[in-house]
Amino acid sequence: MIRFIIRRTLYALITLFILSLTIFTVVRLTGDPVSLMAEPGARAEDLDRVRAEWGLDRPYPVQFLSFLKNIATGELGKSFNYEMPVSTLYFQRLPNSLELAAAATLLSFLIGIPAGLISGVRVNTGWDNFGKVVALLGLSVPGFWLGLVLILVFSVWLEWLPTSGKGDWRHLVMPALALGWYFAASLLRLTRSSMLEVLRSEYIKLARLKGLPGYVVIAMHAFKNALIPVLTLAGLNLVVMINAAVIIEVIFAWPGIGRLLYEGIFQRDFPLVQGVVILAGCMIVLINLAIDILYAYIDPRIRLTR
């Protein structure tokens, strides 16, 4: 177990290293971040001064080492616009994004799991076909468009819900649905296929042979086991939704991390954009590591085979 943890941690560190190298290289390959972000017409001396301030006049390897050191110590530079450290801004916005992502996950559970369950149990019936249509629409209707349609129907026409901003639960419904929509569809598909697989297994046959009523077999035996892959997906997806809900947060003016990234793009706030991307990457790598270790702890087969 210890060896497994060490190996996985090492992998995670390598991943983070490559990630930093990628971001570092992209920034320098595609031009000079200072001139890219500077106001048009800025004087050459001013640009040089900013470059020296950021250490961009030093050789690349030296720059990269200090870049790594800064990431390791959480020192991601100051946002131009807010004049605050990027990490402070990120962690200020994190609870908002977490709230939205949690609501979206909850909604997608409420839609995806029951629908997937029914589709899996009643294969090739009307229910199943309905489920298939929902799954297909979930993958092909872009979340941001759904968000706009929701605004049109529930805010503009019916005037039931506020169009944007953060407040009570009524502010949360539409962005959560728009964000969770895609995930609800993938949950539906996963629950369905997972149920199908479990229902074919020997212990389900045994449970049925024992004469247990159908709903007990499905609820107590099948569903519980079918839920394992579903929960893994949900955990990973939550982290992605926290960091990648850019458009939904923009549409609904939700003050989360995605909107922070958008502000960074628009205000040409280069340290902010770079910092948010790095923090998102770090967070996902660390959560992945935690899930891996947790799994190995629960299921010894994983740590022995890999």
């Binding site: 992998y11 872009p142 049109l152 805010s155 992605v240 549409i251």
Partner: protein
């Protein structure tokens, strides 16, 4: 013993007339019925579009509603936008952007991913280690966030978007195809080719690549919709296809502010186009998956 019915044996020796209708049976009609018009419209946009999509229509007010609504004008069937440009023409040229980016972005991603996946899987060793570590690292970033980052750095242009989406989405191909090559490498026909003295390059070209193409095709059918939505997302955020060039994503973004006063057509129509095209590619992908490789049905 299996006894052939007279009908099948007759078919087997070719007495049956060619079943022309049968050629179409099994073809995915619904997705083709959606996609073919879009492709034709995109290809012949210059001849079909009634107006220049980047210039206001002469003598037409801004925000003219669609023709069937009050204040609409038959000359601009779906109305005009905030600059008085014709929505129909912009949708038509937007189709071109979406389809070109969707297809070429997928090809770039598939090309890079397949190549690296094959090399990693077949050569193994440090090549495998390097490719897979980079794949892991790139997969760690949410695709859209990574694409936004690259787009901010590279600056907006259609071909930059193609490169960016290729660079973001190749990792999925690399991972799946590497796995496939690992098992192919152990198969007898590959071993025999190696024993016969074929060089690595030849084995890869003649024996490995042809056997992973089906998987690559199936993955491509899954990626194309994702790439189209990603392009729309980037254009929506203003880091995709730059204005005044029409793209469905930027049309959505432009219509957003006037959605609040009920001008639904500016946002609903481009979004509906995105949905239709992605839906069709999904259905086509499902069909292709079952057709090419039954084992991948669960992918």
């Amino acid at each position: 013993m299996v006894s052939l019915s007279p009908q099948t044996s007759a078919a087997a020796i070719g007495h049956r007339p060619i079943d022309w209708l049968g050629q179409f049976r099994g073809l995915p009609l619904l997705p083709l019925a959606i996609l073919v018009p879009f492709v034709l419209v995109a290809a012949f946009a210059d001849y079909i579009a009634p107006y220049d999509p980047t210039e206001p229509v002469a003598g037409m007010k801004i925000f003219t509603p669609p023709a069937w609504m009050q204040g609409g004008d038959i000359r601009v069937l779906l109305g005009t936008d905030f600059q008085g440009r014709d929505i129909v023409s912009r949708l038509i040229f937007g189709a071109r952007v979406s389809l070109i980016v969707g297809v070429t972005g997928t090809v770039v991603a598939g090309g890079i991913g397949t190549l690296l996946g094959v090399l990693a899987g077949y050569l193994g060793g440090w090549v495998d280690q390097v490719v897979m570590r980079v794949t892991d690292a790139w997969l760690a970033l949410p695709a859209l966030v990574f694409a936004i980052f690259l787009a901010t750095m590279l600056g907006p242009s259609m071909w930059n978007i193609v490169i960016i989406l290729g660079a973001v989405y190749w990792t999925r191909y690399a991972r799946v195809i590497r796995g496939e090559v690992l098992s192919l490498r152990e198969r007898e026909f590959v071993k025999l080719a190696e024993i016969a003295g074929a060089s690595s390059a030849r084995v890869i070209r003649r024996h490995i690549v042809p056997n992973v193409l089906n998987t690559a095709m199936v993955l491509a059918s899954l990626t194309i919709g994702v790439v189209i939505i990603a392009e729309a997302s980037l254009s929506f955020l203003g880091v995709g296809v730059p204005p005044p060039q029409p793209a469905w994503g930027s049309m959505l973004a432009e219509g957003r502010s006037t959605l609040m006063v009920g001008m639904w057509w500016l946002t609903i129509l481009p979004g509906f186009c995105i949905m239709l095209v992605v839906l069709a590619t999904q259905l086509l992908g499902d069909w292709l998956r079952i057709r090419l490789d039954p084992q991948l049905r669960n992918l």
